[in-house]
């Protein structure tokens, strides 16, 4: 099996799905000739032509808005928002329409749309190129939020997202795009949405993470009997796997890059407490980004949860 980076795995998933289904079309800024600023769509224009790999004018709300119309008409658009910080102008189309069209029309019209966007700190870029605002998207019913943490899961999750009958926001960590290579199977190897994976079994503590944070977590638990769960899908998230792990370990650390207040960790913490409180040996700890405006590159590494901060979070729950 070929070894691939996440960029290559995503590119392969797009290629395979476009090969399989003529209704799959890509659109966004610089996705065509340029192959995407991270090269995730490289080569696809030459293979599938400008009718299926569409360079759009610079307008994120418009990109998502027309994608909704394309999806309602019967296509399966895969829209790229160049960076997550630029999805904010499209939130109205996502919240007011993508998430509601099925319900509003009682199923007459649907929105099988995928919105891919790079997220998180990772490339020493200017402002708004490092956002991780997944929690905003998780509050709205009618959309699903997926965050891969490895090349192979990225490929399997993207294929599932494209085939999903409802809108999916697919978040790609810029830090992970080229960080690791691993063997990635060609063909229809899908990773189902809504299921988490236990990356590492353990008895003492359950560590919950996704996307960019998973690797740091793995580094900081090496010598511990910690169970690490990669959520992969945030909404709907895999309650069963998480709760049963917590009931086993009795200790929970949640790690995310986004700011703490109202981050997705809050929902996980609240849900765990509701379902497994009586099994908890210690308070749940959240290791997260800070409640500040995201700093420019000189301080971004200080903002990002470090292996050391994660470690301290784990030690805290182990005190009990």
């Amino acid at each position: 099996m070929p070894k691939m980076s996440m960029v290559q795995a995503i590119n392969l998933a797009l290629k395979e799905e476009m090969e399989r289904d003529k209704d799959v079309v890509l659109l966004g800024e610089d996705v065509g000739r340029d192959g995407g600023v991270f090269r995730t769509t490289e080569g696809l224009l030459d293979l599938y032509g400008p009718e299926r790999v569409i360079d759009t004018p610079l307008a994120e709300s418009g990109i998502v808005g027309i994608s909704i119309g394309m999806a309602a008409y019967g296509l399966k658009p895969v829209a790229e928002v160049q960076f997550m910080g630029f999805i904010y102008p499209a939130l109205d189309q996502i919240f007011s329409h993508a998430s509601r069209i099925r319900s509003r029309s009682r199923g007459r019209y649907t929105c099988p749309l995928v919105i891919r966007t790079p997220y998180g700190i990772g490339i020493k870029a200017p402002e708004l190129h490092s956002e991780s605002s997944e929690a905003l998207l998780c509050h709205m019913s009618g959309i699903k939020v997926v965050v891969p943490s490895s090349p192979s899961t990225a490929k399997g999750l993207l294929i599932s997202s494209i085939r999903d009958p409802d809108p999916v926001i697919f978040l790609e960590s810029t830090r992970l795009y080229r960080l690791v290579k691993e063997e990635v199977q060609e063909g229809e190897v899908m990773v189902p949405l809504g299921e988490a994976r236990v990356v590492r079994g353990g008895k003492d503590v359950t560590v919950l993470a996704w996307g960019s944070m998973l690797h740091r977590v793995m580094q900081s638990v090496k010598d511990l009997d910690a169970e690490v769960i990669d959520l992969m899908t945030l909404t709907p998230f895999d309650e069963d796997k998480i709760f049963s792990s917590v009931k086993k370990t009795g200790r929970v650390v949640i790690v995310h890059e986004a700011p703490r207040t109202c981050g997705f960790g809050a929902e996980l913490s609240a849900s765990v407490a509701e379902h497994a409180m009586l099994y908890l040996k210690s308070p749940i700890v959240r290791v997260t980004g800070y409640d500040t405006v995201l700093p420019l590159p000189k301080l971004e590494d200080d903002y990002l949860p470090s292996a050391d901060r994660i470690r301290r979070g784990i030690e805290e729950v182990m005190k009990y």
Binding site: R102, R108, K144
Partner: protein, 351 residues
């Protein structure tokens, strides 16, 4: 400072039928007597529907409702120029369009009574559900047109919006993309002179709304929106061009919102009775009636007959709407996703 002129644009206006019912025969669209009668009957039934909806709201039998009074020609003229295979994206004030396209009237009452099932479009139509957030439907129309073009479907997409809608970023991003990709879209703006209490002049400094098309590289045309022949003719040719692959265009229908913005509004707070009176002689139905009289197509008893048949249709629609089983609380969990999530299933146990 002296400069050289590198571009020149003109905005045209189309008028065919005047307030006295006189038509410029050279411009008259080719409509048979039966078609003209059908047109008149649709205008009348839409107005009666509208009137009834206002009454039902007062009686607490409907929720907030947005009247189309005065805008019937813009809506029905546009709808009659479109095919059932065309895709249509309305706002919340397009009841005339729904009715003219043959949308079941009882479902419209059902919708305004607060029941989603009223905008589950029947399979033989391609009209989108009512869109409440102003301007946000415009990109959907452009996307549908993009998909139709990709599939090679020879259809036109028509999208409706108001004068207020032209101020939204969605309008701009959508029209710009339609221009770039030369998509088969007809952008139909009903300039009814008001966006709730904000008058047309406060909405934009542009003298016409049609001229906004200049910024997107395609044509904008202004028509008398109370002149059903002008509206019909303009939309018909724009839609034909769209289907023929000649790209998008925009039509500004100059009309007037004769009623309050919605049943929740009191327009007397912000506009004068004189202004409303001045528009009464321009009424689109009166105008067609006068034209038909001249042509011997309208008589007192024909008029009465149309009125009565229309009232009956509307009565039936109301009866049918109110005999529909109310939705069950658990229904709110349907259609959020194709399959409800575990979380939703658990939550739905409350009912």
């Amino acid at each position: 400072m002296p400069e050289k002129t590198i571009e020149t644009f003109t905005i045209e206006r189309l008028d065919i039928l005047d307030e006295k019912g006189n038509a410029d025969e050279s411009l008259l669209p080719a409509l048979s007597e039966d078609e003209i009668k059908k047109t008149y009957e649709l205008l009348v039934v839409s107005r009666i529907f509208d009137h009834r909806a206002l009454n039902l709201q007062r009686e607490g039998r409907l929720g907030t409702y947005a009247s189309i009074l005065g805008q019937e020609a813009s809506q029905i003229g546009s709808a009659l120029a479109l095919e059932k295979t065309d895709w249509i994206f309305p706002t919340f004030r397009e009841m005339g369009v729904y009715i003219a396209m043959g949308y079941p009237m009882y479902m419209l009452f059902q919708y305004w009574s607060g029941d989603e099932r009223g905008v589950k479009t029947p399979d033989d139509l391609n009209i989108f559900p009512v869109c409440v957030p102003v301007g946000t439907q415009i990109p959907h129309a452009v996307g549908a047109a993009m998909a139709a073009k990709y599939r090679g479907d020879k259809i036109a997409v028509a999208v409706f919006f108001g004068d207020g809608g032209t101020s939204k970023g969605d309008f701009h991003e959508a029209l710009n993309m339609a221009g770039v990709f030369r998509l088969p879209v007809v952008f139909i703006c009903q300039n009814n002179h008001w966006a709730i209490s904000v008058p047309r002049e406060r909405q934009t400094a542009a003298k016409t709304l049609a001229q906004k098309a200049v910024g997107y590289g395609f044509d904008g045309l202004q028509v008398d929106g109370n002149d059903i022949f002008a509206v019909y003719k303009a939309v018909k040719s724009a839609a034909a061009n769209a289907r023929a692959g000649e790209g998008p265009s925009m039509i500004e229908c100059v009309t007037y919102r004769m009623s309050d913005h919605t049943t929740a509004d009191d327009a007397s707070r912000y506009r004068s009775q004189e202004e409303i009176e001045a528009w009464k002689p321009k009424d689109p139905i009166l105008r067609l009636k006068l034209f038909m009289e001249k042509k011997g197509l309208w008589s007192e008893e024909y008029g009465k007959g149309v009125e009565e048949r229309s009232k009956e249709k509307v009565d039936e629609a109301v009866k049918k709407a109110e005999s529909v089983e109310p939705p069950k609380p658990g229904d709110m969990f349907l259609y959020t996703y194709e399959k409800p999530s575990k979380r939703q299933m658990k939550q739905s146990e409350d009912f």
